[in-house]
């Protein structure tokens, strides 16, 4: 048994949660869009810029070496956090979107050709759709998507049928940002591998909520963003199996990623991970992301999940009493996501009235338009929880929603 989280105590580490909006205490339930950051992370970034910033890798001076050590140490933290075999399998990117585009353009152009199929799912975030559509258009491949059942689970039958057709790649979301659905990453990977597909997993909403072990899962690529896992903006991670990464062409050219540059004789590239990290990296972001992951690990993944499930369950229970309530995605509360529409109201109206009561939720399509199409809705209201949310906040949110609905129906 993991020790339960003391969210009230944890909150003290998040100064932003003390603020008011529209004259009301802020209730921040938009964790899935971007998490707030604990002081430890904010201070790590500040500390770096105040006391040991320098460009990395290229310098003989002490400051540059100190910065390089911290930067590379952060890489090792990420490696261990997601269970990668080697630290060179961890590539820094500008974010999850950047990472998926890297794979699409580097691995994709080499392995996906005319007539090939790229398999995704109907619950993907645009970040895991558009790069594949762009690639497909360029090389003459096509994108297919596995159907989603009414409850928000993947349609296993449809998946089996579509895998049977031999797609080159299966790219899927570990945890859906809209539905909260937790896909069985390991089983899906095995299934896809058995069908001969390479596997990319979008772990943006998994890493903040649960333990992830890429070697156990067995996937070929795994990606996530720093800003959703209590880390800073502008930094993300691409994990790839060494063999695959080594065979891939670099995507961006520039400093750091070269071995030797010559205009007459052409250019040779550096080894992993630098081959994929052209230019000055987001040094402070990488270092602070390392701090964020250690901080999160310190809470205990079990405790985090228990806490967030408790909040989601309480929210669902409270909201259920509202007439016309329709939850979108009902398979799991593990990821702390509660998404819904209410008959006769528009998500934008609910969101606006919640905001004026101090409650921050996200409304709209959550960058999952194909999913909205699937459910025939323009968008949802989504409350999403992090470690810093409390049962009391959930109650405030539920009461505020009830009030909003009353006003709208009035």
């Amino acid at each position: 048994m993991s020790k339960a989280l003391d969210a009230a105590a944890l909150r003290l580490q998040f100064p932003i949660l003390n603020r008011e909006v529209n004259g009301k205490p802020l209730v921040y339930l938009d964790h899935a869009a971007s998490s707030q950051k604990p002081i430890a992370v904010i201070e790590a970034q500040r500390e770096y810029l105040m006391h040991y910033h320098a460009n990395v890798h290229r310098g003989v001076h002490a400051l540059s070496q100190q910065a390089t050590d911290a930067f590379e140490n952060a890489r090792t933290i990420v490696q261990h956090h997601i269970g990668a075999e080697e630290s060179c399998e961890t590539i820094w990117t500008g974010g999850a979107t950047d990472a998926i585009n890297l794979v699409a353009q580097s691995w994709g152009r080499a392995h996906i050709g005319a007539g090939d199929t790229i398999l995704i799912t109907k619950m993907e975030h645009h970040a895991n759709i558009v790069p594949w559509q762009m690639l497909a258009e360029e090389v003459g491949a096509h994108v297919e998507a596995v159907e989603v059942l009414e409850n928000g689970a993947l349609d296993e039958e449809d998946l089996a049928a579509k895998l049977a057709k031999g797609p080159r790649l299966f790219a899927f979301v570990h945890v859906s940002n809209t539905l909260g659905t937790v896909n069985d990453a390991k089983a899906l990977t095995e299934q896809a591998h058995a069908a001969g597909a390479t596997v990319l997993i979008d772990g943006c909403q998994a890493v903040p909520h649960m333990d992830v072990d890429v070697q156990d899962v067995g996937c070929d690529f795994y990606i996530f963003s720093g800003h959703k896992v209590y880390g800073p903006t502008g930094i993300g991670v691409l994990y790839g199996k060494r063999m695959l990464l080594e065979a891939m062409r670099p995507w961006r050219g520039g400093g750091e990623m070269i071995d030797a540059v010559s205009i007459e004789n052409g250019t040779t590239y550096a080894g992993l991970p630098h081959k994929f990290e052209a230019g000055t990296p987001h040094i402070s972001g990488a270092i602070a992301l390392g701090v964020a992951l250690n901080w999160l690990k310190g809470l205990g993944a079990g405790a985090v999940m228990d806490h967030e499930m408790m909040l989601a369950a309480q929210a669902r229970k409270g909201l259920s009493s509202i007439e016309g309530m329709r939850f979108i995605g009902t398979t799991s509360e593990a990821a702390g996501v509660v998404s819904f529409v209410i008959e006769g109201t528009h998500p934008y109206d609910i969101g606006t009235l919640l905001d004026s009561q101090g409650v921050a939720v996200r409304t709209g399509h959550h960058c999952t338009q194909p999913l909205m199409e699937r459910y025939g809705i323009p968008g949802t209201v989504r409350a999403s929880f992090g470690v810093y949310n409390t049962l009391q906040e959930v109650d405030t949110f539920v009461a505020a929603t009830v009030k909003a609905v009353r006003m709208l129906r009035g």
């Binding site: 004259g23 528009h346 109206d349 606006t352 009235l353 009561q357």
Partner: protein, 142 residues
Amino acid sequence: MSELLQQRQEEIAEEFEFFEDWMERYEHIIELGKELDPIAEADKLDEHLIRGCQSRVWLLAAKDGDGNVQFRADSDAIITKGLAALMVRALSGLPPAVIVQGDLWFIEKIGLDAHLSPTRANGLRSMVQQMKHYGIAFQAQG
């Protein structure tokens, strides 16, 4: 004719004067939204849609016998519709020139100026722009 615009804005400003918080303001905006005549489904064409809002807004304009512009608006979100109702109330039936040149000070006065920022999802800014565009178009027609 711009006195009419002035007068309408003063009326609206007065109406909003005593609201103490956003919930009260929205309550009134919702009321206005409900009172606004809906646009027939047949008229909700894509060409009347205003881009850039989480909710959809349809805006129609026509010149009446006196050369004034008659606006109709609707939205699938009721708060957005209420904002549209305010705009229609302020501008509908005015001559194109007034619509084009009119300073819509009431928006700031009643505290909705934040809603005018280009980054807002409610479409108020797009509505105002689109109404001005209609004004320009009708002006050009003479």
